[in-house]
Symmetry: C2
Subunit: 769 residues, 2 copies
């Protein structure tokens, strides 16, 4: 009897499981859904799909190909939307920032014509107001929007659920760097983990593409830095998104050039075109460039280390005192920054303008409040400029543009650059980790290009060659600092090439990155990894730990007791098990007629909670649910099993059960994942690690060594030819035919007549007992 | 007794296995070796490493960090060598081809000043001689060098061993397209599959980088099109190789510009810089561009289909008749091509030169025998040119340059382009698959740019706008045909951008590729997939077949009988098993004391053959080898177990055993892989497929459902912190200490004292019986 029920239940589960989530099947550009769901997102989504599908399979079998096409179209449409949305957001942010900053500097310049003190005060106050509003929004409404967001995204795409990461309000709070979160709005429509992750990946690439107008760099960034798994089909969609972003941004820039974006809004968009830079380089220059790489590695590693200390100190002492302290802190730093950036240039002596070249469009000094090099700030004579003000008292974009600029040899003195470097580095370390939605890219480029230009000055002086451009050295410096701090390689290289629009510099950038990454790696990990660790985001790195080589799967489980659920479990037991621990998955065990035990699946905590909450699957009998009972499984509203987009979901403590409920039973077979991944207990942990990470799993069962091998699967066993003809439709038809048979069988109640899917799987004896 | 031996043997194997292949461990930029070897290359390499390591572990434990650093350095050094080598080879080939072709055309032009007939004959003869020599070399010496080689490389990196692919003579025979094979020379030094594949991946990217001067495109090509697995650490090395290639090629080009490369050798290097092309595009133009995409998809799919028919026909009828037929065939095609390319322009009426623009550097007509547009060929007047000769009677590189050229509106008449398209398309279909080492990229670009330019002509005529460049349309046409035929996306897009050196065209190229790939996919598979299938290369596609969704792991094994080996096996049995089938891996089964069976590992055919051949592990006793016997395992020269680089290895028929030998036994435990990947029998085949492909396996054991779960591994179990301090050295020390303990234990002969690695793994009772 028991074995028969077992058989029936498993048969049902198996049949359900073999029915495909047609809702997404046949995606022209993707791997088959079942596999994707099983493998990419771990077992959860499979479970979910199983349940959903159980109800909808008939309906969807009829929808057929149209539905398949619709789903593909929807995916591409969302990719398009993300692209357009990210592009527009980037344009909007850029224009706002540019106009705000332009207005700020214009106002300050107007005032300092009369009084430097008043100008300084106004400048400080404006900055303070901006910082305050930003910090206020973040601390009050959207704590997840603080920082660059990259560690969180990295964690999410590494397979971790971070509560709140996909909240819409995080997007709003992000303000200054919306890019990474724009995708969240539409995520609601996507129920499987895999689809959500695909969208976030698209959004991530789109963000980088928008920030740097670097579509290829965006794709590579998502590929190299963020996702722990990848497939080439997704790559094409991600690339499409990035290209759309590039089109939107380019169109907006064209529109802005005709003066539609306000007085100041045309200079924005992080892009420092140095295509008019150095045409060629000699072998002698490789030495100073290598020096830049070493400096980048050292300063980058130091930066990572310092930010760790600062972040730890902040967390342990400062931020314990509440949100108010965060606001004070950010405001204090803002005032200090304003004072330094206004005050230091005042102390600096002005330099005479270089002899003007009639061909050059560079004015010296420039018109106050406009963009360009050679800022006249606190200078006595008309033909003078203040080199420190040119980089310090300016927007970061403009400062970088000035540092990168070609044909401006000796615009900056070594002294000014050094002063700026020290001050800015210190400020960047302190600012990093405040409750401000700011990234690390632009400050990194500032720091790097400053010492790069410094090295450039020495090189020009030493080699006395005039075709050396200091701007090129500044670019290399920027690459080296980012490489030394973030330890990205390919994507950073491509991003730098794309933002400077100069393919010829690629080998040089690569040389510098090779050195700076190697130097940095000698000291510590990359910035995002360190920050992720500090924030408690458990990233699985691509490389297993050395220690794991000596450990087995069994060792990893430690002394943890496995809490298995019987197939039919008492509600009270479920509640006590769920209360007693925080595991998210439980093996389900059944007994065969011979008294042997068999692992029949993996049950998720979240699904158990749904079952407990809805109560409709409770039964009085401690025996497996009878398939004769009819369409029991469709009692559920299947979307209940879907993972909530952004909340934490229900907890066991939210569920209230009467004492009657507690005495009832649930049959878990229809709700469990019938074949989670397994590893033998003595498999090397490195092997297990790679399995876990590369397939994006959440649970792996460790099982004893097998007693025998049923078969060996090799390459040729997997080279199955698809049937000719329209297989999708054939399959759908056969699915629906089989489903009908299955229903018939359910009605007749004789499960022994046909069990094609389970034959040989379980016990041989299945007469009702 | 048995169980004790089992215990000891397993312990030994386990210990060996846990000892690390220090020879490659600690690679700074890579995943840990054990994991990589286990997971990437399938089980074979692990086995190999186990054995090698068993002998060398002591030695290597002492070498320590230096050795680790040395290995990393070697890998980067090889990447550097591949880069330089590929770059130099590309330069050499290019200069040779350019000078040859230049000389050929110059000679022909000289002769046609006197007699067109004589010129035609000379032209035909020269072409014939070139083709004949190439075909002769290939058919006689290096059959693997025929064609582009991409399907073979794809297969190799997909996990298939193709005999001869890494032969040095393939490289030599390759002549015209060395790129993909350059890495093979150094492969001898790399013993593990993984290292070899890494090198081939580098070489593949380097080849594309060299051919198109597209370093980023090369990396993406290797990533998207070729490898079935990937890791970001490898990416950096691949990118490095590509960049080196770019540097070498660039340096050579600079050198050639100063006239060092012969009279004709400066025009080469596939690079069609259209950075002076169209600056902007209007929305109206998107329609003709979409039309280009559709044409590309249709013509590309047709091309794939036609080449399938031609290849099949050739294989079934023509090439059965031997190599001589191949030579005749290629020569015949050469003559036809020469006649058409010489004859058709003769029939074409010349056009008058356009009004010359003093700023433009374009001469009309150009000097005979030099590069450029506006070829004067069989024209009566001085100020006339022959548009068909400009593309037909020219090297392909120059023809493409002319088709891409900007500011040459209406240089080509629609009639000429159409004639050329039809003829060239037909010739390309026929030529594809002959025994000539030629790729499909350049002909594809030729075809595509022709109809692209045709569409461009119509667009210019229709929209009457002068800022439309026909050259830009030609570029889009080229992209569309390659997309429609090869179905590459991201990498093709980047390659096209890099070869044209114009980032602004990216969105347009992408649009065209999206359309052409979608249209092409509606008809058939990509060119390389189809060709790989025709050649019997069993590629595992990224997407599992639809059918697999309904199949289980068990179904894939079919009725295949599993041939298991007992742990201690009679030599005669091994021989008969190896003779009776062609399996490459066999499960090894042992019995516990209670009579239960346990799967203790996977034994490879190749290792069995080595054992049979060397005979030194034969023993008289049918009992497991006694670990007390001392250093039995180091009797072997462990490099015997290494996979040969390019030969097929030994076969069972090569091994001769005496009847005495046949009566002896071998203990397989020390030579088998103790934990191959397993899947439960009822796991969905799509899941198995993804496991197999993503981890690059060769064998998976299908086992029965487990009776219980020992533990559940989740993310947190894998977040093991490395010990602080210099862990690598610590680990190495502890390794050597433990190894000493192990040896001591071997001498004392008491395995019960400590079994830290196996505790609880096996049977509880282990007293000697």
């Amino acid at each position: 009897m028991l074995s028969n029920h077992f058989q029936n239940g498993m048969d049902t589960a198996r049949l359900v499981w073999s029915r495909l989530p047609h809702s997404e099947e046949g995606e022209l550009d993707g791997v088959g859904l079942l596999s994707a769901v099983n493998n990419r997102n771990g077992v959860e989504s499979l479970d979910y799909e199983v349940i959903e599908n159980y109800a909808y399979r008939e309906e969807q079998a009829q929808r057929g190909k149209l539905y398949v096409g619709y789903n593909v179209a929807v995916k591409w449409f969302f990719a398009l939307l993300i692209g357009i949305g990210t592009g527009l957001a980037a344009v909007f942010i850029n224009i706002s920032v540019e106009n705000f900053a332009g207005w700020k500097f214009a106002l300050t310049f107007n005032i300092i014509q009369k009084s430097y003190l008043a100008g300084c005060l106004i400048y400080i106050l404006i900055n303070l107001a901006l910082v305050f509003s930003s910090v206020y929004i973040i601390t009050q409404f959207a704590p997840a929007a603080a920082g660059s967001g990259i560690p969180e995204i990295k964690g999410y795409l590494n397979g971790i659920d971070i509560p709140g990461i996909l909240l819409f309000r995080t997007l709003i709070g992000k303000g200054g760097s919306t890019k990474y979160h724009l995708s969240s709005r539409w995520l609601q429509g996507f129920k499987s983990d895999r689809d959500r992750r695909d969208l976030v990946t698209c959004g991530c690439a789109a963000g980088v593409a928008a920030a740097f107008r670097a579509p290829v760099g965006g794709v590579l960034f998502a590929l190299e830095e963020v996702t722990s798994w990848w497939r080439s089909q997704l790559m094409w969609r991600v690339f499409f998104t990035s290209a759309i972003v590039a089109v939107v941004v380019r169109a907006a820039m064209g529109w802005c050039k005709s003066g539609n974006c306000g007085h100041f809004g045309s200079g924005g968009f992080i892009i420092w075109d140095i295509s008019d830079g150095q045409e060629d380089y000699s072998f002698k220059e490789l030495l100073p460039m290598a020096v830049i790489g070493v400096i980048g590695g050292l300063l980058g590693a130091l930066f990572n280390q310092l930010t760790i200390y600062v972040t730890r100190w902040r967390r342990n002492y400062l931020h314990k005192k509440g949100n108010r302290v965060k606001v004070y802190e950010a405001c204090l730093i803002s005032v200090i920054t304003s004072v330094i950036s206004f005050g230091l240039p005042l102390l600096r002596k002005c330099s005479p303008c270089p002899d003007s070249d009639p061909d050059s469009e560079i004015e010296c000094p420039r018109v106050p409040g406009m963009y360009g090099n050679y800022v006249n700030f606190y200078c006595s004579k008309d033909k003078e400029y203040n080199d420190l003000a040119t980089i310090f008292f300016n927007t970061q974009d403009d400062a970088i543009r000035n540092l990168f600029s070609a044909r401006t040899i000796h615009e900056f003195s070594a002294q000014s650059l050094l002063t700026f470097l020290v001050m800015f580095y210190a400020l960047a370390v302190v600012t990093f980790g405040t409750a401000v939605p700011a990234g690390q890219f632009v400050p990194g480029i500032m720091i790097g290009s400053t010492y790069g230009r410094l090295v450039g000055i020495f090189t020009v002086n030493h080699y006395k060659k005039l075709n050396i451009e200091e701007g090129t050295y500044a670019l290399l410096g920027a690459a080296s600092f980012l490489g030394g701090s973030m330890r990205m390689t390919v994507s950073l290289c491509v991003i730098m090439v794309e933002i400077t629009n100069n393919l010829k510099l690629l080998p040089l950038i690569m040389l510098v990155l090779l050195i700076s990454k190697a130097v940095g790696d000698a000291f510590n990990e990359g910035l995002y990894e360190e920050q992720a660790r500090l924030r408690g985001i458990p990233l699985l790195e691509s490389r297993p730990k050395y220690k794991m080589r000596k450990m087995t799967a069994r060792d990893a489980c430690g002394n943890q007791k496995v809490l298995s659920l019987p197939r039919v479990v008492k509600v009270a037991d479920v509640v006590s098990i769920l209360r007693s621990n925080k595991h998210n998955g439980f093996p389900v065990i059944d007994h065969t007629r011979n008294g042997e035990t068999l692992v029949i699946g993996l049950m998720l905590r979240s699904h158990l909670l749904v079952l407990l909450q809805s109560k409709i699957d409770f039964q009085h009998s401690p025996l497996p649910c009878d398939p004769r009972g009819g369409s029991r499984a469709i009692r559920h509203n299947f979307s209940e099993f879907a993972k909530p987009v952004s909340s934490k979901g229900i907890s066991i403590n939210d569920i209230h059960l009467s004492s009657n409920d507690l005495e009832m039973y649930i049959d878990l077979a229809p709700f469990s994942n019938p074949s989670p991944y397994v590893v033998p207990e003595d498999m090397s942990l490195t092997k297990v690690y790679n399995l876990f990470r590369q397939l994006g799993l959440r649970h792996i069962f460790v099982i004893p060594r097998a007693s025998h091998v049923i078969g060996v699967i090799t390459r040729k066993d997997l080279l199955i030819e698809e049937e000719s003809g329209d297989s999708a439709i054939l399959e759908l038809q056969s699915t629906s035919v089989r489903a009908q048979q299955h229903e018939k069988r359910m009605l007749v109640g004789n499960a022994d007549v046909e069990r094609p899917l389970l034959s040989g799987l379980l016990i041989q004896d299945h007469t009702p007992s």
